[in-house]
Symmetry: C2
Amino acid sequence: MDPRVVELHRRAACRHDVIALAGGLPADELLPRAALAAVIVDVTRTSAALQYGWPEGDERVRAWIARRLAARGFAISPARVIVTTGAQQALALVAAELAGARIAVGDATYPAALDAFEAAGAHATCGTADARYVIPGATNPVGVDVADRGVVLASGAQLVVDEAYAELRFDGRVARPLAADAPDRTWHVGTISKTLCPGLRVGWLVPPAQRHAAVLARKQAADLQTSGFSQLALARLLDVIDYDATLARARQCYAARAARLYGALRRHAPELRTREPEGGFSVWCETDTRGDDLALLEIALANGVSLDPGHVFRPGDAHAPVAFRLCFSFAPYDQLDEGVRRIARAWRSYVATGGGLTT
Amino acid sequence: MDPRVVELHRRAACRHDVIALAGGLPADELLPRAALAAVIVDVTRTSAALQYGWPEGDERVRAWIARRLAARGFAISPARVIVTTGAQQALALVAAELAGARIAVGDATYPAALDAFEAAGAHATCGTADARYVIPGATNPVGVDVADRGVVLASGAQLVVDEAYAELRFDGRVARPLAADAPDRTWHVGTISKTLCPGLRVGWLVPPAQRHAAVLARKQAADLQTSGFSQLALARLLDVIDYDATLARARQCYAARAARLYGALRRHAPELRTREPEGGFSVWCETDTRGDDLALLEIALANGVSLDPGHVFRPGDAHAPVAFRLCFSFAPYDQLDEGVRRIARAWRSYVATGGGLTT
């Protein structure tokens, strides 16, 4: 991630007057505080939560993951699942396994995936490649539609499938995992960070079977194991909540916010090109203006709103026209209209002051 | 780690008749269950525990680490501290920064450090090197004595200082951090895994100041951040416990077990060369017998006791005489004498059946 962007976001995080449309955080009110409070004391009495554990993770957590994947058509044994320290560690492990390879990521993708690929010496590209990184179910910011599924599978490339948002389409449609149709070349990545709680840092990786042992050894070398405390907290949480009902509530919450943000964009900033989101946490805004999107972020912050500048989503040094991501997931519903008004003001100020000329 | 050893240990973990002298786990009865139970419900109400956080970690945890280091003579700002997912992630991050370098580790060292170095393309060696990995305070299995401190500092090499056991010398002497005397070339690694609770997976890294930004970016690419839930649990735990009193209790517990195990070794297996431990969790047993220490592990397990075979501690393919590590930290005090009786039986059986000839 561009350190200048990080620095600006850090400064914004200390300000209470900034409406947060950056960052991809889940809604605070959806975090399972009460359910965690109800089960967590028991977790502190569990040896598996406090002692060292095996690198592949807690067997109940792995069984739950395998059951949910099986229900969607990807029938695997829990032994195939490796619990990771968030989906990010899963991406980092895959990146290390694909070191030296070229990974097609599309025009704009999840910045931390780009970071993971770069750190491991894998090369993200917009072009053709040995592997393909896809984010099914929702665009973040520009994902692969279910309609593209045949194309993705036909390519024959290794697939890095990041299902962070796969169960968060607003229409509730959850696609069959790509791994079910290309098991020997799919690296299946999942997480509870968007659906339940990012602070626990629990994600998972299902590598191709023939790569399992190598990946598990790499996971162990990376951090021995994911927090047993977090894993047991999740296992107990899953005993007391209805996960599908939790997903349904989350979809409803995010769909309402998406509609609010998208409507506000159409009203207040019709010059920005956007598509109505079908799921996930964010909207991608494109323009024909060329320029420095860092300056746009600065102007936005001066106007009391944050955004994610487009260049952090793009592989390499592509100088595409200015674009940015707006997240509707975290800011309260009631702030979204005002947030977009500020975005519109910032955008016009950016264009008027020649922000587009500073590169 | 040798997968054959892992497989044997996994099978042993399912057996209740095996006295566990392998593994380096802290004593179950020292895990802070009651204190965690007392604070943990409040943690579930804390946004910082459940939401995404910054990659460097919680500021209270970093302030606590910096305060303790300052009290020992290494005065740094909390901003220098990076909270990691256990000390293992700290070692993995250092290894990545030292990729391509040769790291001197001594004759026998912590196996997961060897794994981290290898995974990142750093080369562990017994010989001279660009960097040196040391485990002050206690041998695991063969560490660097405080008496060697001048030698270590004089070498001018980069220092990877793993302080996992630094505060667990039985005499309570805690050396000044090596980083205080070589701040520009010391990678300081610490953890609560041996003193409080490994399941939380909280460790830390203080890189040389000029490498901080690069390491923090690498940490973020690795897993975004260490579990906020674990970090906040630790922060609250530190509010209610007396950490120095906790250390004193731990030293007393481990000193008693060490004396018990060492005494039993002298009584039941005087043919094994050992040194009375001055701290830490384990005793290193050396012999003049050459052979396959995996066969020794198999015979030990058949006799109802586990051990860590020496070859997993050694860099490269050094064919040194058979050695092994015995941990006194985890098995209950009352089992240690019987555990060593079984070790003695297994050793004699190994020698008698020509176990030393199977390589």
